[in-house]
């Protein structure tokens, strides 16, 4: 038995846990145990797994001797010696060094989300845990899958579960937001399926590696207008899943309606969808400058819009939500430049963002937990009540703005290098200016919430901060520092994934 058996387990274990906690949701104790076991498995399995491909059902490409049964003569005559021998007949999961890093960090974030949700609720809710696990499974599959239809299926599952995560929070207006998000999601999902259908019609294939091979070896005419239309449809799906403009308003509404632990996974979905669907587009349509320019333009608009919208808000949940959408623009810039260095930088930024945005959501979740209000104008002086948590939250804000020695500094620095190397130094200037603006926005917010004198009418609850939450915040801070001080650990592995985007 080799280590590649762990590759499907990364998706299967969370799904099994999800089903079990949902079945047993009446027994709080059992649910809790299964929740802990499943959560701990999430980051551990990617470490144990060995690099390689997993073919579901064992159907390897025919060149590797995939079939044990002898083929009919007529079929054999067509297949042997042609491209058909190299095609992947099964759903293929590819696992390499880059995927390992992303999945490890993602597993860590998901584990922390499960722990926090168990610690912060008195009676463990099996249904809520079900949705957390299901979303983690969908995200794991997003990174692993090499099959474009499998991507779509998990995209729809994730869309359903996201709405579920919004509905369980009792924030006002969550049902309206959920319905709006689902209606948009039905259109986004259908359009993405339309793009997949057109690619399927031209190539007869849904495996991404096979599609890339067919297009780049000239089996399919790359300038076919239908292919251009398919690129447009896939980019539409990418925009919807990522929440770049014109979907930034609904996406930030979604973030601000979730519980802190739910918001962590909701933003993980945006980040992971951004890199996985983005990589699919880069791999298939890498020869189309139009597609890359579209991605680049939308990302730049997203960065600027995100920060502008965040500056005028008074609700700190909305501010973080808009900033999170804006930060996604940096990943989009990395992917849109489409050089190996820039894609590495984009993936690095994605990994950092998974950690830092979750860190911020928890930190400001604690403010909400203590004060029951999310209006900055009503807040103040909280540093007396939660000194350590306040310090950690401010550090998280600094990390997001790109202050050294934290991790985002390294990835933004790499992005600027990539932009200059690609011959667009203006982008680097824009990114630096926007980072400074983000930093100022955080200083203003941190001063208003933590440092200025407490307003008289503000009531701070005496409930102590849950220990699990503090532990999770410290874990996130340590990850930020480790990646920030030793970026080579992550960047080298992500570089391998970035290079596969250009290989046939």
């Amino acid at each position: 038995m080799d280590g590649t058996i762990f590759i499907p387990l990364m998706v299967v274990i969370p799904i099994i846990c999800a089903v079990l906690v949902n079945l047993l949701h009446e027994h709080s104790g059992v649910t809790k145990i299964f929740g802990y076991i499943g959560a701990i498995c999430l980051p551990i399995v990617p470490i144990l797994a060995v690099y390689g491909n997993h073919f579901f059902g064992g159907y390897q490409p025919l060149a590797n001797g995939g079939l044990t049964v002898a083929l009919p003569e007529a079929a054999n005559a067509i297949i042997s010696g042609s491209f058909l021998e190299l095609f992947h007949p099964a759903i293929t999961y590819a696992f390499g060094p880059g995927q390992q890093v992303i999945l490890f960090v993602l597993g860590l974030v998901a584990m922390c989300a499960v722990f926090i949700s168990i610690a912060e609720t008195k009676k463990t809710s099996g249904v809520y845990l079900y949705m957390l696990f299901m979303l983690s499974a969908a995200l794991m599959a997003f990174v692993l899958t090499d099959d474009i239809f499998n991507l779509y299926v998990f995209f729809e599952i994730a869309a359903l579960v996201q709405v579920g995560l919004i509905l369980v929070s009792r924030v006002r207006g969550n049902y309206e937001t959920g319905l709006k998000y689902m209606l948009l999601g039905e259109v986004g999902g259908s359009f993405m399926l339309l793009g997949i259908a057109l690619i399927l019609g031209l190539t007869g294939n849904v495996n991404i590696s096979d599609i890339v091979m067919m297009i780049h070896t000239g089996l399919v005419n790359p300038t076919n207008p239908v292919l251009l239309f398919a690129a447009g449809m896939l980019i539409y799906g990418w925009l919807y899943a990522t929440g770049l403009p014109p979907f930034n308003a609904i996406k930030s509404e979604i973030y601000s309606k979730g519980l802190p632990s739910g918001s962590m996974l909701l933003q993980s979905f945006s980040v992971i969808a951004c890199i996985s669907i983005g990589l699919v587009i880069i791999r298939i349509f890498g020869y189309l400058p139009t597609a890359q320019m579209a991605m680049l333009a939308v990302s730049v608009i997203a960065m600027i819009l995100g920060i502008c919208m965040a500056m005028v808000q008074d609700d700190y949940k909305r501010i973080i939500a808009y900033l999170a959408v804006g930060e996604l623009g940096y990943i989009g810039v990395g992917l849109g430049l489409a050089t190996p260095l820039s894609i590495t930088a984009g993936l690095f930024q994605a990994v950092n963002e998974l950690v830092v945005t979750s860190f911020l959501f928890i930190g400001f979740g604690l403010v909400l937990y203590k004060t029951r209000t999310s209006k900055i104008s009503k807040l103040g002086g909280l540093v007396e009540y939660m000194p350590v948590a306040a310090l950690l939250t401010v550090l998280a804000g600094f990390a997001m703005a790109g202050v050294p020695p934290f991790n985002v500094f390294q990835s933004k620095y790499l992005l600027c290098q990539a932009a200059i190397a690609a011959g667009i130094p203006e982008l680097a200037v824009i990114m630096i200016i926007l980072s400074i603006v983000t930093f100022l926005a955080f200083l203003k917010m941190a001063y208003a919430i933590f440092l200025r004198p407490k307003p008289d009418e503000l009531e701070v609850s005496s409930a102590s901060v849950p220990k699990t939450t503090m532990a999770v915040m410290i874990v996130f801070l340590i990850i930020c520092l480790i990646i920030g001080l030793f970026p080579g650990l992550v960047v080298d592995k992500l570089g391998v994934l970035a290079l596969t985007a250009f290989a046939l």
Binding site: F149, E156, R172
Partner: protein, 130 residues
């Protein structure tokens, strides 16, 4: 020649269903009608994928005992799109069910099914900033 009308017609029908769904989603006010419009978009895409696997003068892709392999390979339709559509139909139905449930809950809370009253950005924004 005459038979190819079948495939072209199916593609045109798929396109029209998608357009009808989109128009309903954008212009109709009733939330239930919007939801059904969204379901029609999904139907249209499914129909398009099925039309891709069609083969003129073909037979269904079910291999029976007494068939000749060579003529089966020459005539059978392409089954991969059909396998995909089976999944897609079920996903569409479950999405529709969740959306309908949401619409019912919203009606019970607000007493209306009008989208302008329910999903208005302005109203939501004011509620948030009260």
């Amino acid at each position: 020649m005459a038979i190819e009308i079948v495939q072209c017609g199916a593609l045109i029908t798929a396109a029209l269903l998608m357009i009808i769904g989109l128009v309903a989603l954008v212009y109709l006010d009733n939330v239930l009608k919007k939801i059904i419009g969204a379901a029609f978009i999904g139907d249209g895409v499914n129909l398009l994928i099925i039309a891709l696997g069609y083969r003129v003068n073909g037979i269904p892709y079910i291999f029976l005992q007494n068939m000749d392999v060579n003529s089966f390979l020459g005539q059978a339709s392409y089954p991969l799109p059909f396998a995909l559509v089976l999944t897609s139909i079920v996903i569409g139905a479950s999405t529709l069910a969740v959306m309908l449930a949401l619409a019912v809950v919203l009606y019970k809370r607000n007493g209306t099914l009008s989208a302008t009253a329910l999903l208005n950005d302005k109203k939501l924004g004011e509620e948030n900033n009260e």
